[in-house]
């Protein structure tokens, strides 16, 4: 790519792509100028990821032409796109957790026959600095957690010499500090004549960091916007096609204690303590939010409540100590967990949706007739769980991988809600959901809680938690911290607690 070339970095004309009967992209024209940070926004299933996968060569369009720097191109695979300096960091990073961070970068990058690790690390550190990241290069990527792997995925694109960087929901797993650092550095990256396309649901990021935005709805382009001339409200109404209803705050006031923890420690495999909760009482009807930078013990904490991880200390549900209950018994007793990455932890992507509906419900009697699992009850249940979160599902017979990422999330979240839990646990439950999806989720949780349940939700979306939860706690360095009453709605004070600056 030549910085003096006047042609736009990307020009896509009349792009159409169908999946079965669905028009994922319908004659989309999309232009990105060089040196800009350009956002693509739209609801789940609006065709954003499809368009980007076409640009990246991992999908072939049915119709339409693509120009990169004014040159017409035809990509047969991502390899062709990478050759032209197009890089894409996807929502589900293709990082191999068992390999070290540096090995993940070297993987598939070509280079000399013998790997020169020290030289590679020096170059990688320099690239990482450009993005404001730091890594322990020789440790396995898995140890750096989902956020670390996400960062590594982005870095890998630079490593391969990307000058046009496509980022699909890059910040969902990142802490506010990392997010800010990333965007600050992306700014200088585009100032060097590179280009970034950002696929996101976080309109705040668009307003704060992007220069241009394109809105998709139902597979069609709705509008091209210059960010400085638009507003959050205008963008969100363009996304949904009407003026979005103002978000309603949580309703109802909590009742009696439902879940009580005392001197509670979530343990690692080797018996070391992964998270500590000295004292926590969640009342019936209460929604508790847990804020924190990813990897501070939120995941082990919720996993030990479900029982997939061992714990020490007392865990009482409605007056009964459930500490010794198996996962199956706890699920039967009304505990349910929305996993962090539903695609790998909650669904079987090549199974039909109706079999996915049964996961976690396999022992419930309502699914059996004369002792055998009954198809009709699965169909009914799968339909209800899709409806609960308004997942766009054509047929419950189709495999889960036919749904878009956001609809997979909706479907999996719908399953947890349809279980009618007494204790609803969520690890990033609104991850990958658009604004209306997240709103539906919190309304459903509120209505469950209205019927006497309680919820503990872990999220990186601090604003969402502050708006929707009765109270917000902070998890830092494996400890659950109470936010002082006076600061309970102060996002800056909570932000400081999240990085360990205040008590």
């Amino acid at each position: 790519m030549d910085a003096t070339n006047p042609a736009p970095a990307v020009k896509m004309l009349g792009i159409s792509k169908r999946f079965g009967r669905v028009r994922a992209n319908d004659s989309i024209d999309f232009t990105v100028s060089r040196g800009t940070l350009h956002a693509i926004i739209g609801e789940n299933g609006s065709g954003k990821s499809t368009l980007m996968r076409i640009l990246y060569g991992s999908l072939r369009p049915d119709r339409g032409r693509i120009e990169i720097d004014g040159q017409r191109v035809s990509f047969h695979s991502p390899k062709d796109a990478i050759g032209l300096g197009v890089g894409m960091a996807s929502q589900q990073p293709s990082i191999i957790p068992e390999l070290s961070c540096i090995e993940n970068l070297l993987l598939g990058a070509g280079g000399p026959f013998l790997l020169q690790r020290d030289a590679a690390i020096a170059k990688a550190s320099a690239d990482a600095k450009r993005l404001g990241f730091e890594f322990e290069w020789t440790r396995s990527a898995g140890e750096s957690g989902p956020a670390g792997m996400q960062k590594l995925e982005i870095l890998r694109q630079l490593w391969r010499g990307a000058r046009l960087l496509i980022l699909d929901e890059p910040t969902v797993l990142l802490s506010p500090l990392d997010t800010e650092a990333l965007f600050r550095n992306l700014k200088s990256y585009v100032e060097e004549g590179n280009t970034v396309i950002l696929v996101t649901h976080r309109l705040r990021d668009v307003v704060d960091f992007c220069t241009h935005a394109t809105v998709l709805r139902g597979g069609k382009k709705v509008s091209d916007l210059i960010v400085s001339e638009t507003s959050l409200d205008q963008m969100s109404s363009l996304i949904v096609g009407e003026t979005a209803a103002p978000a309603s705050a949580t309703v109802g006031s909590p009742g009696d204690a439902l879940l009580s923890l005392k001197d509670f420690h979530a343990l690692q495999e080797d018996g070391r303590i992964a998270a500590t909760v000295e004292q926590l009482t969640v009342r019936s009807g209460e929604i508790v939010g847990i804020a924190g930078v990813d990897g501070n013990g939120q995941r082990p904490f919720l996993e030990s409540l479900l029982g997939v991880r061992r714990h020490k200390g007392s865990l009482v549900l409605a007056g009964t100590d459930i500490g010794r209950w198996s996962v199956r018994e706890r699920i039967a007793g009304g505990v349910t967990l929305i996993p962090e990455v539903v695609q790998t932890e909650g669904l079987v992507l090549d199974w039909p949706l109706l079999d996915n509906a049964l996961i976690g419900n396999q022992w419930r009697k309502e699914f059996r007739r004369s002792g055998l699992i009954d198809r009709r009850s699965k169909i009914g249940y799968a339909g209800r769980m899709a409806a609960r979160m308004r997942a766009k599902v054509r047929s419950v017979e189709e495999p889960a991988q036919n749904l878009s990422g956001g609809n997979q999330q909706r479907f999996a979240v719908g399953r947890a809600l349809e279980m009618k839990p007494r204790v609803c646990l969520g690890l990033q439950p609104t991850r990958g959901l658009d604004v209306s999806g997240a709103a539906t989720f919190y309304e459903e949780v509120a209505s469950l809680c209205g019927e006497g349940a309680c919820a503990i939700l872990v999220s990186n979306e601090l604003d969402e938690l502050l708006e929707r939860c009765h109270r917000v706690l902070v998890m830092f360095a494996g400890r659950l911290l109470e936010v002082p009453e006076s600061k309970s709605k102060d996002r800056h004070a909570i932000g400081r607690m999240m990085v360990g600056l205040d008590p």
């Binding site: 997939v308 996962v327 090549d350 996961i359 022992w363």
Partner: protein
């Protein structure tokens, strides 16, 4: 299904090209395969009887049962390469039950089969335990246990259970009253009851896997162990159970092969059914009932090759070439389907 059929057609195409290159008359090969497996002689338009069909069914029986065994483990994400060893100890224990315990009659057959199943299960147990609780790969441990089974059973029939000291390495023949005799119908059609047991077990396995909670958990562990753990499945125990069940079915295969066909355990008890069964299970894909057509196809290929050797002198080892081509092409179409999604 269409893709698998295409793969079979493509395998036959490649085979025809290879044979033509070697100067083998293709038409004669085709005719002897048809004759050898159906009993119908195309040249004369004449049906010579049910004997060839019965022979295909006889060959298919141990393949069906061992293929089912491998398939059951596969459904839970484990690869049981040890069916050969489990089959052998199942056969030997059934022989021992008939000869030493003096079991006879229908009840005796049932007990001998159950003992064979128990032997297969126990033979799989070390590998199952290592896989579930020590993280050792079942492929390695089950392969190793095959060697142990082959030589341990050889030792037993060369010493403790040998028919005549100093004679052939084999047990005595089990009494007529203890064996599961074939039933001969009019027209020379011979039915091996073990085949019906195999079909019944395949139907049961399908029902269990698709329609019961433990069967669902079994498949879930195979498809996504993390999702299974979150769904309250004790994944380690399910892995353990999967290999034990698989071993038990392979043990049944051995016991029935002994009671119904071999009637004594010699070192030539199995020409490698346990290994062929890996191909049968792979060809069947994810369907428990798919092992039935797959076993029939493998048996027909072997039977056709035997006929071709007699008729036109084509070495019967051509069956390995055909089976190998078939598996490669089926693996290719399945892999392609996955990668395009």
């Amino acid at each position: 299904m269409i893709r698998v059929t295409l793969a079979i057609a493509a395998a036959l195409g490649v085979l025809a090209a290879l044979l033509a290159l070697a100067g083998v008359p293709l038409r004669d090969v085709a005719v002897s395969f048809v004759e050898g497996t159906t009993g119908w002689i195309p040249d004369r338009g004449e049906f010579v009887g049910w004997q060839p069909v019965s022979e295909v069914l006889r060959r298919a029986t141990p393949l069906l049962l061992t293929g089912l065994a491998v398939q059951i483990a596969l459904q839970a994400g484990s690869f049981n390469i040890g069916a050969e060893g489990q089959l052998r100890v199942g056969g030997l224990v059934a022989a021992w039950a008939c000869l030493s315990l003096g079991l006879t009659g229908p009840l005796g057959i049932v007990v001998a089969t159950i003992l064979g199943a128990a032997a297969g299960l126990l033979w799989a147990a070390p590998a199952a335990w290592i896989r579930a609780f020590r993280g050792g790969h079942e492929v390695i441990s089950t392969i190793m246990l095959n060697y142990v089974a082959v030589f341990a059973t050889e030792f037993v029939v060369s010493g403790p259970m040998q028919e005549r000291p100093g004679g052939e390495p084999t047990t005595a023949v089990i009494p007529e009253a203890a064996s599961l005799s074939a039933i001969t119908f009019g027209g020379g059609f011979v039915l091996y009851p073990a085949l019906l047991v195999g079909i019944g077990l395949a139907i049961l396995a399908r029902l269990w896997l698709n329609r019961t909670p433990p069967g669902f958990e079994h498949r879930l562990v195979g498809a996504n162990p993390s999702a299974a753990a979150y769904a309250g499945v004790k994944t380690k125990w399910v892995s353990l159970r999967a290999l034990l069940l698989s071993g038990a079915v392979a043990g049944v295969a051995g016991a029935l092969h002994l009671l119904g066909q071999e009637r004594r355990y010699s070192i030539g008890f199995s020409p490698g059914y346990g290994f062929d069964s890996l191909g049968v299970a792979l060809l069947a894909g994810g369907h428990p009932l798919g092992v039935l057509p797959a076993a029939l196809l493998f048996a027909a290929i072997e039977q056709g090759a035997v006929r071709a050797q007699v008729a036109i002198g084509l070495p019967k080892e051509i069956s390995f070439v055909i089976q190998g081509l078939l598996l490669l092409l089926v693996a290719y179409v399945r892999w392609r389907r996955r990668s395009t999604l």
